[in-house]
Symmetry: C2
Subunit: 328 residues, 2 copies
């Protein structure tokens, strides 16, 4: 089952409605559930109950995509981004002058918490963020958590993953590089936009896409201005999504409404090529570029880089004071 969040053209900006997605290509129609239905709540329910609700929605009129705005399927209560594709880590490390992934990468699936308010809709324009000359994309699979869990095994975690969607973790590489030199991981380098969508495909719908070890194995591709530029398979993750949830849940809550992302697949970003090539080839994104990401069975998100919005001025440099005192 495919579940979308949307509003109609002309609705107030705060309106969000959940719909059942039926049909393919030009024949896609979004059939609204009754107001009050929550996408994460639908994911958390039993498949039988969800099916019965979907039957009611399907019986109503469907809306073509040109009558609605698709919104981010969820507004996450928290967002974690992992780093699970070995070949991507390999390319990025080469960009830092290292021979390949550090040994620590293999031990456990590291992640960072992301800006939860930066999610944007699957076809929204993304304004060029300030301070960057190296705008990049990151092709990822995102899992939507539908139940609160803590200290669960990978087997137990399976029930907590309600569905999956495509994600573009837009990145300002020059800003990010500076931030990472301070050992805190990226913040402003990644907090301006994270595109998720176009809708959520429920986990039960993807059981036939698992490999022998249970890893979700879907083809992932990215195109820039209609030219294929990269792609991989989600089966190349070093850990399954169930393992990611289990790891995150150790002595910590993972809550309904969270989004957990795979991290960038290999060749799913420009920076990996920059690392391997030792130069900015292919070039960073420019205003007007259109980035299109497709994951088998999950759909396509497509976003144009828009001119920058007006931003407030950068803050002043640090007030220096304690340095002098500390060395006194």
């Amino acid at each position: 089952m495919r579940l979308a969040t949307f509003r109609r053209h002309g609705d107030e900006p705060h309106v969000r409605q959940v719909g059942l997605v039926l049909g393919q290509g030009e024949h896609v129609r979004v059939h609204p559930f009754d107001p009050g239905f929550d996408l994460v709540g639908l994911l958390a329910g039993s498949p039988e109950w969800r099916d019965s609700q979907a039957d009611v929605a399907a019986a109503g009129d469907g809306l073509p995509l040109d009558e609605i705005v698709l919104l981010p399927p969820v507004y996450p209560v928290a967002m974690r981004d992992f780093l699970t594709f070995e070949a991507h880590v390999d390319g990025m490390e080469r960009g830092h002058g290292n021979p390949g992934p550090p040994a620590a990468w293999y031990d456990a699936p590291v992640f960072l918490f992301m800006a939860p308010h930066a999610v944007t809709g699957p076809y929204d324009d993304v304004p060029m963020p300030p301070d960057t000359e190296r705008l990049d994309f990151e092709l990822e699979v995102a899992a939507i958590v539908c139940r609160d869990v803590r200290d669960v095994t990978p087997e137990e975690a399976r029930d907590a993953i309600g569905g999956y969607c495509v994600m573009n973790d837009w990145s300002a590489r020059d800003v990010q590089g500076k931030e990472m030199s301070l050992k805190l991981g990226p913040s402003k380098g990644k907090d301006f936009a994270t595109t998720i969508g176009p809708w959520v495909v429920t986990a039960d719908e993807l059981d036939d896409c698992r490999d022998a070890e249970g890893f979700l194995d879907l083809e992932m591709t990215v195109r820039v201005n209609e030219q294929p530029i990269g792609g991989d398979r989600s089966g190349h993750m070093g850990w399954s999504f169930e393992q990611l949830v289990s790891h995150a849940s150790r002595a910590s809550w993972v809550k309904a409404g969270e989004v957990l992302a795979s991290g960038t697949c290999s060749t799913g970003s420009l920076a990996e090529s920059w690392g391997r090539n030792g130069s900015l080839v292919p070039p960073p994104l420019q205003v007007g570029d259109v980035v299109e990401m497709t994951i088998e069975r999950l759909g396509t998100i497509r976003n144009r880089v828009a001119p920058p919005e007006e931003s407030v001025a950068p803050v002043a440099p640090a007030r220096r004071r304690t340095r002098l005192e500390a060395s006194a």
Copy 2:
């Protein structure tokens, strides 16, 4: 005005009520607001309206602290931790074998997003997290955001900060170090507990604590097992909280209910001493240790390190696959 979140002993675990804190020391009493009042909503209201609501609460009976459980004053919609104390960065960098803060530190206030579900109450026990032999504390000031802002100047940001409280950003330094070697910043090294409290002091109450440049300047101290172990002044931050909000808001939302923290003050953690001393002196925290943090005007939080809870087993190492393919 001081505002606390609490439940009475015997209340269901999900119950949260907001109260006005009156009195000092043993005479502290928490006077409940009517159910339905929200702490962030009280911070966002005008001082006059808040005062009138407080008058109503003050007229009712007050509860002594032994009749209630103080909860985290807010359950953040997002949490950012900055790195603003120059002398702390200096000590940490020495621990990494560097001569002092990198030049990039001075340019802009870097931050990370933290685990928003890990907040714990001001007097709660904190179980020893798994996988660590280097448990540490971090003494910080936290600001509570009460309005949604985007692209605001420091002057405009002032209105968005509703109040302040004490924060202990508990850290498993060995876990954190390993994660930071992967350039994503700490995740499991810091996601098990972040103590905030004991209550929120409204920003208008602290206008007399600002220095000539408008920086909040409060004495901060930390004691372990009743022995003073570190302390600093919030005036030693490299940027004011208004500048932190402004920076975070550049091309991005900062939303009501967020917590923005100063980062660790100098000598406000053990790791800074480990960096300077080149050895684990003072020793890492052990089960039974009590960490007590006091910030002038904001109050005291006090937490005992409890025995570890039972955790799920670590996940398996990465499935190696693409490495072979990539190098083929």
